[in-house]
């Protein structure tokens, strides 16, 4: 894997929120082309901040983030598209229009927009409710649209900000598998932020464990499971072993995170 090129590279990345909250403290991380990386950690460890910086939504004080060798600093691009936790479909567009929106942004001709959009609507299964407005469909259906509009864009890296945490059990599993297949079939790179240990281990090739306040990388664990992950049982012994390992690294952090949460009253 290490012989493929680095697609996203963060060096000594530091982000401080006023007055004095160190969301990220000299974080360095390299993500290779074609990788599926998860970042996991207690709430407030800066994992979402890291993702937002990589997406170009947030500034930072020190260090550097490079995407394909170009500096990322508050510049958004569809090549680094995001699947959000709160989904963020544009409420004045139907499901289909939401999916076409990004494609039109790319400047594709009309029939191309329709061809690519319809293809992904079919794959993810948005077809049945494509003319509905966001307020007319369920949370799970919304996230299917949220995923389809990013997949259709064909980004170089898909940034996932806890995309499954607001979904029901069934849709969550469905979307996890869809994401894995998308990553596998299209040879994509995925950066997946989550607080769910099983999810992180089951989906990714590398799990980055972070600690909170200041947000730092504690350990990076390689997950040695086949790439065709959807064929692996979720209760496979190896999966559980990795999950235990990650959980034991995080247990201390989680406890501290909870204390912080109580103290600051989130």
């Amino acid at each position: 894997m290490n012989n493929s090129k680095v697609i996203l590279k963060a060096t000594n990345l530091t982000k401080v929120y006023p007055p004095d909250i160190w969301a990220l403290d000299r974080v360095s991380l390299e993500i290779y082309d074609g990788e599926f990386v998860s970042i996991i950690g207690p709430s407030g460890c800066g994992k979402t901040t890291f993702l937002r910086i990589a997406a170009g939504l947030e500034d930072y004080q020190e260090g550097e983030v490079l995407f394909n060798g170009e500096k990322v600093f508050k510049n958004c691009d569809w090549r680094r598209s995001v699947i959000y936790q709160d989904i963020r479909l544009l409420p004045w567009m139907t499901a289909q229009e939401n999916i076409y929106f990004g494609l039109e942004n790319k400047g594709l001709p009309k029939d191309e927009v329709r061809r690519v959009g319809d293809k992904w609507m079919k794959i993810i299964g948005v077809d049945n409710f494509k003319d509905k407005y966001p307020h007319e469909i369920s949370e799970g259906q919304k996230q299917m649209v949220g995923m389809a509009r990013v997949c259709a864009l064909d980004p170089d890296i898909v940034l996932c900000d806890e995309p499954t945490s607001s979904l029901d059990w069934h849709t969550r599993r469905y979307l996890q598998v869809e994401l894995l297949k998308y990553w596998y079939n299209e040879n994509k790179t995925v950066l997946f932020v989550t607080h769910d240990v099983e999810e992180a281990v089951y989906l990714s090739q590398r799990v980055v464990c972070m600690s909170a306040r200041p947000g730092k990388i504690k350990e990076i664990i390689d997950i040695d499971l086949p790439k065709e992950r959807w064929e692996v049982a979720r209760d496979d012994l190896k999966v559980l072993e990795y999950a235990n390992k990650v959980a034991s690294i995080l247990s201390e952090e989680l406890k501290r995170g909870k204390e912080l949460e109580l103290k600051e009253g989130h």
Binding site: C76, D77, V82, F101, G102, V150
Partner: protein, 320 residues
């Protein structure tokens, strides 16, 4: 009483009015009223209500709440016209100069057809439409831009708007008439000012209260600056813009009426001029006719704009 019976009774009020109008002799102080136009109007109302009674209620092709609302409103209008006709037209209450009978009032739509219904109405609608739309064309894009840049808003727009926006635009009428060579241009300018402020204020409010998460989502989908305005900020601010359009129209119409009253003449008519001109001549029947005509213009205008509004805003969750 069953609903069908009740609705039938309401519908037949309009027929009853027509029959009474023919059967009961005119009041002594208002003899020989021309009845044709009023009766025709009542017959139109009757057909309208009848449509909702038969098609909407008995054939169940319209929602029951809609039929009920139409019937409630028909009852209100029916009673008003009934009482007006009987007390003033037939029993002869109140003095005939200031309180004309409905027959007299509606007759002017025929008698003064050219000046009132055609020239004045067209002139007013034309001025209103041009001034209002020019205001929309300037205020909405400007509002979107100002709302997007906090510095521009805080440092320049807000201090000016806070002081200037609430100034009654009417006080600029004398100045506008002085500065513009033609009355029509002055009137348009004043309508523009009147409608401009409420629209821009509400556009900016809509942009600034639009949840930033939608802007972020659009940006990570690679939106260009131009498409951000047309596809995100504008539709996102639209509910608020509509509130501004409503107030803007009210203000524009008030301002227009005054400006016409001050600057209008027989050769440059308008509904506002018509009312104020005949006020000086104490022809109150013509004034009432003009007021009803204004209400009619408003009904048509708001009806069209409601259609557009509900189409553009159909993405919003309906209020239950």
């Amino acid at each position: 009483m069953s609903r069908g019976l009740k609705y039938t009774a309401i519908t037949s009020i309009f027929l009853l009015i027509i029959i009474l109008n023919y059967l009961i002799p005119d009041a002594a102080n208002r003899p020989n009223q021309p009845k044709l136009v009023f009766n025709g109007m009542m017959f139109t109302f009757f057909l309208f209500a009848l449509f909702f009674l038969v098609y909407g209620h008995f054939m169940k092709r319209q929602s029951p709440t809609r039929v009920r609302t139409i019937m409630d409103i028909s009852l209100i209008f029916g009673s008003i016209f009934f009482l007006w006709l009987v007390t003033i037209g037939k029993l002869g209450f109140l003095d005939p100069l200031r309180w004309p009978s409905p027959n007299q009032v509606f007759y002017y739509y025929l008698a003064d057809f050219d000046l009132l219904v055609v020239k004045s109405t067209l002139a007013t609608v034309k001025r209103l439409a041009i001034g209002y739309f020019v205001a929309i064309i300037f205020a909405i894009p400007l509002g979107l831009i100002v709302g997007r840049y906090p510095n521009l808003h805080d440092r320049l727009y807000y201090p000016v708007a806070k002081v200037v926006a609430p100034i009654p635009p009417i006080i600029l009428v004398p100045y506008a008439i002085e500065l513009f060579p033609k009355i029509d241009q002055a009137v348009l300018f004043i309508i523009f000012i009147g409608a401009f402020w409420p629209i821009i204020v509400n556009t900016i409010y809509g942009v600034r209260t639009l949840d930033v998460k939608y802007i972020e989502a659009a940006r990570t989908l690679g939106v260009s600056e131009k498409r951000l305005y047309t596809k995100v900020l504008f539709p996102g601010a639209l509910p608020s813009i509509y509130a501004g359009l409503f107030i803007g129209l009210v203000l524009a119409f008030i301002v227009l009426a005054v400006a016409e009253g001050i600057g209008g003449s027989h050769s440059e008519p308008g509904l506002g001029w018509y009312v104020l001109y005949y006020a000086d001549l104490f022809e109150y029947d013509k004034i009432v006719a003009a007021i009803f005509l204004i209400a009619f213009v408003v009904v048509v205008w708001t009806g069209i704009s409601d259609r557009i509004q509900s189409r553009l805003l159909k993405w919003q969750r309906r209020v239950e």
